[in-house]
Subunit: 512 residues, 4 copies
């Protein structure tokens, strides 16, 4: 078996201008970053086309540490759809340099279902993460400078929430003291660096609908609280315009190609455990503007990623998938069935069967949004026919279509069946209009409770003193009409990363 | 008078592919970053063309805080040369985002002698600074991780020299404490951030001759000392290859265009007070490979920038300018003549005349390198004819050609006379082969003393205890054969930023 | 009503030599610290006298923020017993300078039941706290020095548990970074200062039986863990002898006098929420060596202070009180009955009656140790006769003697009834031999659980991951045979400081 | 030869009450701290007796690292004077616990000329250092609290000068960050701990004339600068009274006894390199109130200690010694004569003779104050008769009495000749009235320059930018009429600790 990088290097890449024009993007609008990568101006988005497009969400069961293979299914499905003559484009997140550095692959798919040029995508790509890093840290520097310059006349902020970011995994920067060495070096303070995918700039870039909307969102960023308890935002610094200029190129979606030279948009990469974890709204809409079928994915398990995709991204962007695909692996199901991690590659029908409950809960959750659900099975060499048959049978019993995906090994050819099933499903059994878990007008606590009860399956929800204080702050700031974005472990339904399967009767604790 | 940005916006840009092919770069080799910026692969450098090219160095008298206008002369000269039918390309440094942010212009020239697109050049440009930031900080993170992982068995480093960088002016990051919050967050340490132009990665990228040479230089970076006093380098971490991959695009020179659509290379931007302060060797050689006349500049006054240009950059790259232009302004001369800063725009013949000594010392210094010297005068509206005539007469007396440069107001047309004088000088009175201030085999102290006595004009040189210790370290590391790079104030010949004119009889103190 | 300090200043003090010789201490053994304070050498303790002495413990219901008045009862009882012709001495904790500074009074009783000279006792006294501060910080300095001197050859400690102390309320010192400014200033580290009463040196000084025993305890202090997980103690530093020398005077109990010139021992002051909260074993035994009745107290409510007094101090010192007095106030009972804090000075029979459950739980707890229990009621001017009668009746129903204490207003005269009741109780209904809550051989978890279930009334006990890790460490160190000392809020039976009355069915969480 | 501690333990101590009453102190006024140490109330000072007393200053040549033996001469002289029937008392500094800890002896003399009980004096003594530590840190805590409580309405201080102290040698505390861990733990700041003898509280306690004067000095302590540049003092905090209460016992001089049971006062211990380095004015005056001859010493060499003793302590206290004794050793003179440190115990007449210049400069300096000067020679076993004779001859040539002191080996008996010479000198050749080096009305710079030129022998004085700024601050605060206290190395006349002998023609640099 060839490695991902060997397969990537064997591919003959088309010039990106050709890939882009093939799906109808005017040649003049393609802004090259080298030969094989380009940005497409955000104003090419065609809202009419977006409305007509068949959007497909790819999500997964609760993942193992190695992942379940959502990206491979997403890319593979795009290849398969193109293989059967459909016009399909995939929209994905771009990887962070920090966590990827030094690893063989990244977040660009695998096997014969990759997006290319892999190495460039995994390194600096088009500089989007760097632009976000710059914008984020520029705000910090200007905020610090503001406080510093006014230190003899203004009391500063009671609490500064805004930190710094760097796209490097640097544990020493998590908790730092700044401003040392005398007053020429600023005011001492305790702060830290997050990794760039955790930047709020990343989150809002991915939700923005255009540059003006981005500017508005930048302006509203909450930097801290004044001593009277009121909010201090970027608007108070008067720098939203300058910060937005730093993001003027980063906002344009990036186009690359698949291992079979079809177009792919790779744009935006917020972490799914702390942010919404999806690629940018603009990349999804750009893909929808130049295709009939658009495939996109949502990070981690469906409880975490898909919940946010529907309740946050779709709500805000007016999207409504025609189909939701839940990716599953036999290994993952066995893990949830209680099989030890070093045994999940061995046949174990009992464990597998017990693990179905994890899949079932995700299916139930996806259906609660009004979605038609399909299960795509990423088959590995060591999966037995008996196991595959058992899962297929279980899905049938659940009234859910089950298809094996072989794109990893065979590229588009291996995803033809999946593609055909998808087309059939969308044509004959499209999803209902999207139903949200909660309403905009629900209180913050109600929103959290609805997610905890309805999606996570919690028996009770308790709020820490700190969490209660934060909620009061949010209510006082008059922003309780926004969706909530919950940061929790990706490894289980509950807050306990080792609670495999489906947790029941647990108390869901809100700390912050 | 229009502002720089207004002039920039009125310019009709050519596509960069056309600008590049106009000077003979094959279309296929132009790696676009949008329509108006591109990178040119380093392997297009033609050593034969480099040898035949007429290289011109633009330097200046000791500058005022507002600068003397070297970049405007450099670009203007290129425009002028092209105007009189010569094939001329300018090579410049790229600006840092940090210090430029929020200012109208940057380091891209001014008036009708600019490089464009100004805004992009001043912001992320092609991401070179971001790549350097990433590479620098990745080394830090991996070094910290190395020490952290081995903390129970190895004593760590006695002294860590390597810090972090960020391309933001953030005073709070200069002195920080890292690694707080328990052992999962690393080992507490006192360190800081420099600004990216001060990164050693920047310095070596600008001196590298190709990717392999860059890798070798990365490998040799001194990160700190072990407890036995021996050096700990990037090689000891085993990560030089990975770090070099992060710089694989950054090493390629960037091509942009002037206000008159001629080619300009803008690549590399180390600070001149702490590093060599010139654009990359590769950009200079790339410009030389596709022109007959190449103009380049060296930062700050000729004592600081030109000294390093000759002794470090030219020595290492085998370059030898045919001509050195010293840029002067009446304001600058009057400042050195003791006129108060708020009076230097007013006529003051006595002050002006007294200020000639600064110019004369720079002329003498440049001649000591074997250079033919020309003075280019950046004329301002408030300079009187009498003043200009006095400077012209003084230069004539010194046996140095004097030409007024009007490119700021008139573009290439305003630099025709300068261009003609340059061509005449190079054809009839080219510089001698380069003479260095010191030899490779001189001891570190001798090298420093030769620069201090011969270039700065010091009466004595004293070394602090710390400096002596550092010199001993360098000698023990066996690297005393390298050129020395002195960090001192750009505002005078001595170490006292307020010693205008020419300092005499001063003791030059080496602190570190 | 006169203030405490006015009453104190009106008292005519006897020379302390006279007070001491009055109870039989040889004149030559009295080590003066000024005229009114002395130390008594520890070797004057007479174990035979200790055995025959009638020891009385004064504890209280769960206190209000203003306290319940245990010290006033303790001193008052001593006065009352002397008044009726008994030879009685009280043993109390010495106050910390930090929390007392700036407040009118301290921890020296109140009204006509004080120990004197109040001001000196509340300030430096005999320097015991200073000696403990010195000894504690000397260990830190020598530990740091040890790690520093060996940093190039030994890996240091994986975790340092030992901090610094200062007898000042200085919030800025709680979390600090030390060792900054270059290697001459040590190795950077994150640590903090505790207040001196929280020093482990304080705790062991109060449990030590003589100087040799103290040395042994100093030697065993756990300073941190090595990388192999093993313990690093003062013994490993080889400095136990030197540290003990610093404590050679501090170990001797301090003698002062009451407002009625009877002897009182005031020695040792560990916090009751984090340490055992009693005066030193040596002071108690010294008082017992020179009296027939010795009164001592235990910090905060009986659940916290008396539990530790019995299970830790009495177990280790071989003491067994003949009587336990629980002090109660109408205000306290009303608070536990759910009356708002600003209403507890007003009559409220319903609230009072409901609050009896707190008293009852403490009575039950004290009886579980085999103690005869008496309730001393500190009556305030605003308490109604009806209220006092109700409490008296309730106590009678519980089979517990109830007496009103008026020593605050009337000195010994006001405690005569209490004294008579105490003598009667001890002569006719002395406590049984002490029964401990747990056995030495119980596991750490069992010990904690027994306290939580039997004393606090918890329904369940849960251990955090950190707590489990600590318990494993303790077991590995082979020291699980020691008593456990629980740090919890003094304001309720549970861990919730606002759970007045008696908490039931709560889960008791062990964090650390 | 017996060690100091062996000699100390062999001594039979008198009760301190007897020692004190022997010199006329009323028994009732002796405030015991144990049997052998007492404090004497400050109001026993008798100004009339002070005026009549014969005060003798003991100072020394520039010392070796091991010291020259001033304290041994001071105590020895007291013993000798008593031996010949004079009523003599010595006044000395009390040692710091930090630097003494772990060393055999301390600063209590040596051989048969010690003050006792040595161990107690070297440890906690009467708690003076602890009281100063408490007072100093209490100010810090209250200052921090003031800034913290007012942080939302007042801008805080532009610069905080006040740090913390601890009487422990703890390098990790020199540079620290405080106030970490969230706003409940204060405001982050960069600060440090000094050792207690460097506390300004120590300095002013030693200069105070009574408790009221101390309060006034506490009130005037400069804690920092406000943003408008004005001073912020303890008075602004309103806590001078409370702080003074913490020092109410510490202000009373401590009385102990010598190895021959004569009285000695040991009180106050400021460092001589940073503060005035003498024992308290009160101890000197107390000794003078109960004796005819009082011996006191001043730290380090006469350039440092005696200069401050005269210009600061005597000026402020109205004292005027009848005689100044300069202590010299052959080792010290040889060191100043350029003999290597490991050879100074061997005979070397050339080196010795060359070293006389150090002695001569000190003699000249002492004479400049109008003092009669005598040289006391501390003879060691390895000093040859030839060497001693050479020094004696040299002194005679200088017109200065030379006497050998043998008190180390023989106690008072060995100092009889010295005592007789002293009595003779005072009776027949007493010092002139004191002449100061500078006047109160001189400017700060003039004061510094006079000391540098006249005492240190500098050729020039230069002030750093920081020093100039500080001097301007002092002038603006209107306190330039105070004496100056210079912090410099104790190891030479100049600022270079290795410039033995007498430095000439050096530039004296003022940094801060």
């Amino acid at each position: 078996m060839k490695s991902d990088i060997e397969i990537a290097r064997e591919c003959t890449l088309e010039k990106i201008k050709k890939v882009a024009t093939d799906i109808g993007i005017p040649r003049e609008e393609v802004l090259n970053y080298g030969k094989y990568i380009a940005k497409i101006p955000v104003d090419l988005i065609d809202d009419e086309k977006v409305k007509q497009n068949n959007l497909i969400l790819v999500t997964a069961i609760t993942p193992t540490r190695a992942g379940i293979g959502k990206t491979t299914v997403s890319i593979g499905l795009a290849l398969g759809l193109n293989k059967i003559g459909k016009n399909a484009v995939v929209a994905l997140r771009e990887p962070s340099l920090g966590p990827c550095f030094g690893m063989k692959g990244g977040a660009a798919g695998g096997g014969y279902a990759q997006v290319l040029p892999m190495e460039n995508i995994n390194l600096h790509f088009t500089g989007d993460f760097h632009a976000i890093t710059s914008a984020h840290n520029m705000i910090t520097a200007l905020l610090d400078n503001y406080i510093y310059q006014n230190r003899s006349t203004e009391p500063g902020l009671k609490e500064v929430l805004w930190k710094r970011v760097l796209d490097v995994n640097d544990r020493g920067l998590r908790n730092i003291i700044t401003g040392l060495g005398g007053s020429a070096n600023g005011i001492p303070g305790q702060t830290g660096f997050d990794i760039t995918p955790a930047s709020e700039i990343m989150a809002i870039l991915c939700l923005a609908t255009d540059l003006e909307d981005l500017r508005r969102r930048v302006e509203n960023i909450l930097l801290g609280y004044k001593y009277d308890g009121s909010a201090f935002t970027v608007k108070d610094l008067g720098i939203a315009g300058a910060i937005t200029v730093l993001l003027k190129d980063a906002i344009n979606p990036n186009i690359v190609q698949t291992t079979e030279n079809t177009a792919a948009f790779v744009h935006g990469g917020p972490f799914a455990n702390i942010a919404h974890g999806c690629n940018s709204v603009l990349a999804t809409k750009m893909a929808m503007s130049f295709s009939d079928y658009t495939i996109t994915e949502a990070g981690f398990g469906a409880d975490l990623g898909a919940e946010k995709f529907f309740n946050i991204k779709c709500r805000k962007a007016g999207l409504s998938p025609k189909l939701t695909i839940i990716v599953a692996t036999a290994q993952g199901l066995k893990m949830h069935g209680g099989v030890a991690l070093d045994k999940i590659k061995e046949p174990d029908m009992a464990g597998l069967t017990k693990g179905f409950e994890n899949l079932d809960k995700h299916i139930e959750n996806m259906k609660s949004f009004g979605q038609t659900v399909m299960v795509a099975f990423n088959r590995y060499a060591f999966d037995t026919d008996e196991e595959v048959a058992a899962i297929a049978a279980h899905c049938e019993k659940q009234g859910v279509k089950f298809v094996v995906n072989n794109a990893f090994l065979e590229g588009g050819e291996g995803a033809v069946k999946l593609a055909e099933a998808v087309v059939d499903s969308i044509e004959n059994r499209p999803s209902e209009p999207l139903k949200f878990t909660y309403n905009d007008t629900d209180s913050i606590k109600t929103k959290i409770e609805k997610i905890a009860y309805d999606i996570y399956g919690a028996a009770s929800v308790s709020f820490s003193e700190k969490a209660n204080k934060m909620i009061r702050n949010i209510e006082e700031l008059g922003i309780s009409n926004f969706p909530v974005c919950i940061a929790k472990t990706q490894f289980s339904f509950s807050a306990d990363p080792k609670a495999y399967g489906v947790s029941k009767g647990f108390d869901f604790k809100i700390n912050d």
